[in-house]
């Protein structure tokens, strides 16, 4: 097997809106295929601007963005780059434009120049893959929270993107839907050809990330493995963030002299981590 391709690279990227202070400041990050990175930070750290930069909706004031190991330089590069990037926004309803889910999937494919035949084939494939066949003639806005998110993922995957960005997608989901969506995302990661960026304020959503970046004031303030970042209570609090619930409880217990073999990140692993 060859070396993993670097799907996305930001090198020293800065951006400020006209007449305002810098929102993104000398930011560098990379994402490889098969990798899932988590991004977190306090409200106002520059998340929306960062997504716009990655999706070439705005152009950096300085620095360089490369996609699939090629720098994005011209307007043509910018337009074609979007073909490879799928973004799932916090409010799934903002994705839907058609009356039925199937039409919605076809709409995206048509926009990117796929023939009707090819589009129909791809729609069939993703509806099957994400267990959405029974919903294909339904209005996607009427699906449940978890189904909606899977519908969004299906519309994105139909385009065979190489990078998927999930922007706070878990915040409106109940526990069961959350598990369902997370499982779908982990399966996408396993495919190996996609790089995933999960953006969330909530540590619970990021426990499966390969790396986590903590952003503050448009810069990377801390970077490390999910375990190192999410068990670092002090650093997280400095950024208005908190460790996962299970981790916070374990850290309190540890301070009360209850020994742990390892600090858990999830409720489900609490028992095995306790040194009873």
């Amino acid at each position: 097997m060859g070396e993993a391709i670097k799907l996305l690279e930001l090198k020293g990227v800065s951006y400020s809106y006209p007449g305002k202070k810098r929102v993104i400041s000398d930011l560098s990050l990379d994402l490889y295929e098969g990798e899932m990175i988590g991004i977190m930070g306090r409200n106002g750290y520059g998340k929306s601007t960062l997504i716009k930069l990655i999706d070439s909706l705005i152009i950096p004031d300085s620095g360089e963005i490369s996609l699939l190991e090629k720098p994005i330089e011209s307007d043509e590069d910018r337009y074609s780059s979007r073909r490879w990037i799928g973004i799932s926004f916090q409010n799934p309803d903002s994705h839907f434009v058609s009356k039925t889910l199937r039409e919605d999937i076809l709409f995206g494919l048509g926009n990117f120049g796929f023939s009707r035949d090819e589009a129909e084939k791809r729609a069939d494939r993703v509806l099957e893959e994400f267990g959405l066949k029974e919903f294909q003639e339904r209005d996607p806005r009427e699906l449940s929270g978890g189904e909606k998110e899977r519908a969004v993922i299906a519309t994105l995957i139909a385009l065979s993107p190489r990078i998927l960005i999930f922007d706070e997608v878990f915040s409106m989901l109940d526990g069961i839907s959350r598990e369902m969506v997370l499982k779908t995302i982990l399966e996408l990661k396993k495919r190996g050809d996609i790089g995933i960026i999960l953006i969330s304020h909530y540590a619970e959503d990021l426990v499966y990330s390969d790396r986590i970046l903590v952003l503050d004031d448009g810069k990377i303030s801390k970077e490390g493995s999910a375990y190192d970042i999410l068990t670092d209570d002090r650093t997280l609090r400095e950024h208005s963030l908190l460790p996962p619930c299970a981790t916070r409880i374990a850290l309190s217990l540890q301070r009360a002299s209850i020994p742990f073999k390892r600090i858990p990140l999830r409720v489900e692993e609490f028992k095995e981590c306790l040194d009873a």
Partner: protein, 267 residues
């Protein structure tokens, strides 16, 4: 007192809510919980008089909330914070936004309220002259909350108000909400976070449009509760204590004590 009796809602023959009875009292904070699609937002719309049920009644201090003649009384008594409150921002400055719903009160009192709520929401006064839409997502949400909280209505309803706030803002917002009830307000909050729900006085749980629990929060999250089967609705601390075979522990202190007791017992 806001009282709903025998409330049912049918849409196209489909039962969305079934025979719901709920009474909201002043000085009480209530978490309205349940899976996606269980009817939480629909019930909140009905309680606030925005949606009329197919069957049943809703009365605010004995007055029918759906009667035209009671409309201004109901509007003045209940504040409703929607899921995406920032969508309702329309003024050209944060100050105008905050003043909009309290234009009729004296300037001095108005300023006092704005100051008070800005401080409680950790908003800096420097943003008062900014355009609301130029703020970050989290700030926009706080400004939208500010414009509603300054009304100081006796009943305040929140539909997932904390989803896009960072955890520390969320923590302080949840303590703010539970504090509102100690100031005598009645707070009803829809939340998917069982941790946030555990800070409220009372839990009202819906599943498939039916009430499956209404009672004290501690009872809601105990192992005898009907909610125990809906594991994902349980706060993490309760799930952990259960997985360790320690019975019902509701906070860290209780968990620590139980673990220590068990260890001492083993010696």
């Amino acid at each position: 007192m806001l009282k709903a009796s025998g409330v049912s809602l049918l849409i196209d023959g489909k039962r969305i809510l079934s025979d719901i009875d709920i009474t909201l009292n002043m000085g009480e904070s209530i978490a309205l919980i349940g899976p996606n699609g269980s009817g939480k937002t629909t019930l909140m719309n009905i309680l606030s008089g925005l949606l009329k049920p197919t069957e049943g009644s809703v009365e605010l201090d004995g007055k029918d909330v759906y009667l035209k003649k009671n409309e201004s009384f109901v509007r003045g008594s209940i504040s409703y914070v929607f899921q995406d409150p920032e969508r309702l921002l329309f003024s050209s400055s944060v100050r105008k936004e905050a003043e909009f719903s309290i234009k009729d009160i004296k300037k001095f009192e108005r300023e006092k309220r704005i100051d008070k709520w800005m401080e409680r929401l950790s908003l800096d006064r420097s943003i008062l002259s900014e355009h609301p839409l130029s703020l970050s997502g989290g700030e926009k949400r706080k400004v939208a909350l500010l414009s509603i909280l300054v009304r100081e209505s006796p009943y305040i309803f929140f539909d997932e108000p904390i989803a896009s706030l960072d955890p520390i803002s969320r923590e302080s917002f949840i303590s703010l909400i539970s504090a509102l009830s100690s100031y005598g307000k009645c707070v009803l909050i829809i939340t998917h976070s069982s941790e946030s729900a555990s800070f409220m006085d009372r839990v009202f749980a819906l599943q498939g449009g039916e009430c499956v629990f209404d009672g004290k929060t501690r009872d809601a999250f105990s192992s005898n509760s009907p909610l125990d089967a809906l594991t994902f609705l349980m706060p993490p601390i309760c799930r952990i204590s259960k997985s360790l075979g320690l019975g019902d522990c509701f906070d860290k202190r209780e968990l620590i004590d139980s673990l220590k007791r068990r260890k001492d017992g083993k010696r």
